[in-house]
Every structure is written in structure tokens, then in C-alpha cells.
Symmetry: C2
Subunit: 156 residues, 2 copies
């Protein structure tokens, strides 16, 4: 199979970084007994912490992550005009270990004020997406592979 | 764990059916060597065929599905105002076997005229999402489980 990916350059890194920093929600893929499961989860990029997701234990993805924290997340730019298939999006692959809900509370709520309605509920847990690799689609036919060094704040 | 799901009723079935029939793209979760992978794929609901996705062999999800056709797909309503986390969305779980690209050509292109730019490319394949079960989120805290009988056109 031809490798259709372009060499990852500064422009691709900047686009990926911007998608991460601005995302308010993502499509989260988890494992349900080894089979794929995808659902919507709210998130925020927090400086010095990276990409955090807030999920209720009542949601299927929470049970999936509790059993196996491997995940993939797709983040996209704000809905613009035209064909969604040409809009930039970033697929992240990695793990989502639990994060310190108390330590990140102020920063998360500063970024997502609406989450104050449920952040303190006992069934809500914070996880951090630790990115091992990523795929960026900048537009139709414009795909890039990114490694940890291309996404410094999200991979450590 | 408490089951937070509501009893599936006619209103939930109608909402799920509408999301399926109107979706133009979806977030597709596949397995990459047993780990989750999620990416954007174009789709169309075709009467008597169900939910069809069109993907290039150059995309990671195509290689993933060729190795293991288990998948999950999240479809959403058109981007509206307000908090995305309150918007209806439907997570489908099942398989995506290859479909007959020639047989569905006219119907797919009638539904997605822009796909005529690449539908006939040799690296594009059509797959049908055969739904085994689904989860509907109608709004914040309003979750439903659906089985094949709740989504008659998508499950057979």
C-alpha cells in the first residue's frame, strides 16, 4: 500500500496544536470487551496538564476506560462552511489514565464554565489523554502522521 | 453501577432513525491491532441498503476494517446552537462488511453528489454498517439503549 502521508512539517504541527488547544469536545473511541465503541465526551486543554476529559461513571465510555484505558480521540475545528470531509481533524491514539480532579478543578472550570454544573458530582472523573501517536488530516488528501515530539504538551 | 438508561420508546426510536437518515459523515471507531482508532468518514443512508460508508484504502480505517470489520460509528444531528454535549447523537456498534459499490452507485451519488469526484477511484470501497446495538443520547442525562428491532433498516 502506498503511504499517502505527507512529511510532517511546522505547519502541520501548528495546525494539530491549534486543534488540541481549542477543542471543547471530542469523539472518544474505547474498547467494549475488545470491540470498538465511540461516543461524545467534553474536554479541555489545560496548560501544563494537556488534554483532559470529564466523564460520568454512568456513561459506557467510563466503564470501558476503567477496564482498559487505551483510547483514540478525534478533535476537529469549529464547524465551518462547506464539506465536513475537507475540514481539518486530528485523531489521537494513546491512553487515558485518571487525572487529579481536585488539582485541575480551577483550570478546567475556567476553560469550561458550564462544567461547573456537574464537575463536583461524585460519578464524574477526570482523565488525561496521553498521546502516543496521532494522524492529522488537514484537508482532502492531506494526511500527516505525528509522534510524541510533534505534540509536546500532549504526550508526556 | 446504576443503569442510567431510560426505557426505549417510540420517540427515542424516531430520533435515532432521523439521525441515521440525515447523517452525511460520522466518527468511525475501528481496531488498529486491537487498540481503538477513530477518524472521520463520509456516509449516506440508502433506502433498502442502510448506512453506507465510502472510504479510501489509503486511510487507516480502511486497513483496520480489512483486518477486522468490527466498528462503532457516532452520528450526530446538524450542528446547532448551544452546548454540543446536549445535542442528540447516536453510537452504533456492529460490523462493516464490504458492500456492492456498483449496485449502490446511483443511490449513493444521488444522496452525496460531491462523492462523484472520487466514488469511481479504484482505492475507494463501500462498506455497510450492520448495527448490532446502539446507544442514543437525546440530551444531557437522557440515554437509551437500542437493539436491532429498534433500528430495522440498519440491522439486517
Amino acid at each position: 500500500m502506498t503511504d499517502a502521508h505527507r512529511p510532517t512539517d511546522a505547519e502541520a504541527r501548528a495546525l494539530a496544536d491549534g486543534l488540541l488547544r481549542r477543542c471543547t469536545h471530542l469523539a472518544l473511541a474505547t474498547l467494549a470487551g475488545g470491540a470498538p465503541h465511540v461516543s461524545r465526551v467534553g474536554c479541555a486543554w489545560i496548560e501544563d496538564a494537556g488534554l483532559l476529559i470529564l466523564a460520568s461513571d454512568l456513561a459506557t465510555h467510563a466503564a470501558n476506560l476503567a477496564a482498559d484505558d487505551r483510547c483514540s480521540a478525534m478533535v476537529e475545528g469549529a464547524a465551518g462552511k462547506g464539506d465536513v470531509l475537507t475540514h481539518p481533524r486530528l485523531s489521537l491514539m494513546g491512553r487515558a489514565p485518571l487525572a487529579d480532579k481536585g488539582a485541575h478543578r480551577d483550570a478546567f472550570l475556567a476553560a469550561r464554565p458550564k462544567a461547573s454544573l456537574f464537575y463536583d458530582f461524585g460519578d464524574f472523573r477526570l482523565r488525561r489523554i496521553v498521546v502516543e501517536r496521532a494522524e492529522l488530516v488537514a484537508g482532502f488528501g492531506a494526511a500527516y502522521r505525528l509522534g510524541p515530539s510533534d505534540l509536546p504538551g500532549a504526550a508526556s
